[in-house]
């Protein structure tokens, strides 16, 4: 099962038939397994990793450190939810260490990010402080190097 997940994580366009050949299983068996994994939300979504810069689309990302006061019974969860419901928030992690939430925000301009932090994020009750770090360049994302200059120049024929 893990092998199927690995393959799909790397290339979600693989068909059940292809996965069956690669893993030495029957196609129907793979189909059933994938359906089950989708049904129980082990597989949440299929998406495509896009280098937007190459597509000529300007996007601004910022990693925002959020410190907050935990609440009785729910800890950080309630505040986290108020934050992750915003569509401009792409990723939210609860962190150990110097701050509590790592919030990745994506907007079209820097000003929009700043406005989001100032008017939406920082004003949420129990948010104690924020620190915004703008992303200057993405080298690697989801395990993939975006502009891999490394090449493997093997000879065409070797013994």
């Amino acid at each position: 099962m893990h092998e199927i997940l690995d393959l799909l994580q790397n290339n979600s366009r693989l068909t059940a038939a292809q996965i069956a050949v690669l893993t030495g299983r029957k196609e129907q068996e793979v189909k059933t397994m994938i359906e089950k994994l989708e049904a129980d939300k082990t597989i949440i979504k299929y998406f495509t990793l896009i280098n937007w810069e190459k597509a000529g689309v300007e996007k601004v990302s910022a990693l925002i450190e959020v410190k907050m006061a935990p609440q009785r019974d729910v800890g950080f969860d309630a505040v986290a939810e108020r934050i992750y419901r915003f569509p401009e928030v792409k990723t939210v992690h609860l962190m150990s260490g110097a701050y509590d939430l790592a919030v990745l925000v994506e907007e079209v301009t820097m000003k929009e990010v700043a406005m989001f932090v100032a008017t939406k994020l920082a004003t949420i009750e129990n948010v104690l402080s924020t620190a915004t770090h703008f992303v200057l360049k993405t080298y690697k994302q989801n395990g993939f190097i975006l502009e891999d200059k490394e090449s493997n120049k093997r000879l065409v024929v070797t013994p």
């Binding site: 690669l22 893993t23 065409v156 070797t158 013994p159």
Partner: protein, 398 residues
């Protein structure tokens, strides 16, 4: 000066035919858009942590000679690995680090072979085995394995090849070019013949980690075999380190001492940079290696299934990264098949006859390429067969 340079060249060298692969290489190199299944090395680059360890070693100025035997730490790591395979060696006296398995093989031959000694070599085999035997003054005696036997050496065939001059048996499993593996049961039968006729064994196990069906058995780990076996292995295939040129030999103390005499005067030592990197591979390379092996295994299934679908009979290779499909039913010789396939469909495969008797009706296809390239190559090969009315011909030997 004599009129021709050839008059100066040692006849023993002159007699060696140029590599059959070479001619093919020239042809394939000149063409654009070729998908090559002719490459006998991983398509992965060396894992980053190994390269990073290499860079760090250079920063620290580790640029000197090492002991002739190789870094002791590395030999200890190698001994630990071999011990995990069931063969115990003293890292101080029974292991020699060499410049690739190629050097180890040459040293073993030169240390062992007296003029006229016969070396029994199961074929199809790696292209250097026969010439290196001859250069060392030995006489190669080939034993053709067959697809019916899954390209394994059988005890009967070995027995039939033995003469009073037989001295050493050269084994290479998992095998280049066939992808054949020999399990413990198969090897025990060979070991019996080896003992009966008092042979030595050189066991080239460079593809040992790339075993997909069952468990690899180190020949020296068989009962009573360590004392008469020279194990050769290296880092090229398992860790995608072909260009680093690092291998080793493990054998009896006296034999290693004798090999080391030649090594110290011809090579001095293997490059320290490669040795440091190999040590990093042994210490921390398991996860990356296993990941690469998983990739090869998927591609192996892909090509075996692919050949089945396009109608090329192929036995299921259990190791290395080669498939060796049978092309005898195409009416073409292996060379004609490979040349026509290259010219018509721009897919490079290696004609099986260059690997010696038994390979005449097969071609070697390396699956150390991306799934995309392999899929495209299989489609092109299917087209090639279809044009000859051969697609989906009866599949045998599966």
């Amino acid at each position: 000066m004599r009129t021709k340079w050839s008059e100066y060249i040692n006849p023993a060298v002159q007699q060696i035919p140029p590599s059959g692969i070479r001619r093919f290489f020239d042809l394939a190199t000149e063409m654009e858009g070729v998908i090559s299944l002719g490459v006998g090395e991983p398509d992965f680059v060396t894992p980053w942590h190994i390269r990073e360890a290499c860079i760090y070693s250079l920063h620290r100025g580790r640029t000197t000679y090492t002991s002739n035997h190789g870094l002791l730490e590395l030999r200890e790591g190698i001994a630990d690995y071999l011990s995990s395979q069931g063969a115990r060696y003293n890292p101080r006296k029974e292991i020699l680090v060499t410049v690739g398995v190629s050097e180890a093989l040459d040293l073993a031959f030169r240390t062992l072979i007296c003029p006229g000694d016969e070396v029994i070599i199961p074929t199809p085999c790696y292209v250097s085995y026969l010439p290196c035997t001859e250069l060392a003054g030995g006489v190669p005696v080939t034993v053709a394995t067959s697809m019916e036997d899954q390209f394994r050496l059988t005890a009967d065939k070995l027995e039939a090849a033995i003469t009073p001059k037989s001295k050493v048996l050269l084994l290479c499993f998992p095998n280049n070019p066939t992808g054949a593996v020999m399990d413990r049961e198969n090897l025990l039968k060979i070991a019996e013949v080896v003992r009966k006729h008092d042979l030595l064994v050189i066991s080239d196990e460079v593809y040992d980690r790339l075993t997909y069906t069952g468990q690899h058995t180190c020949f020296a780990a068989l009962p009573g075999m360590q004392e008469r076996t020279i194990v050769l292995n290296g880092f090229s295939k398992a860790y995608a380190m072909t260009g680093w040129r690092l291998g080793y030999a493990a054998a009896n103390e006296e034999f290693i001492a004798a090999m080391t005499k030649i090594h110290q005067y011809t090579m001095l030592c293997a490059p320290i940079t490669a040795q440091v990197s190999a040590l990093e591979a042994l210490r921390h390379g398991k996860a990356a290696m296993e990941d690469m092996v998983a990739h090869y295994n998927r591609r192996r299934r892909l090509v075996v299934q692919g050949f089945k679908e396009i109608g090329l009979p192929c036995f299921e290779p259990g190791g290395a990264f080669y498939a060796f499909p049978y092309i005898g039913n195409t009416g073409l010789t292996a060379t004609e098949f490979a040349e026509n396939l290259l010219l018509e469909e721009k897919v490079a495969v290696i004609p099986g006859d260059v690997f010696g008797p038994g390979g005449e009706d097969c071609v070697r296809c390396s699956y150390a390429s991306s799934v995309e390239d392999l899929t495209e190559a299989l489609q092109r090969m299917g087209r090639f067969l279809k044009r000859r009315g051969l697609q989906n011909s009866k599949v045998v030997y599966i």
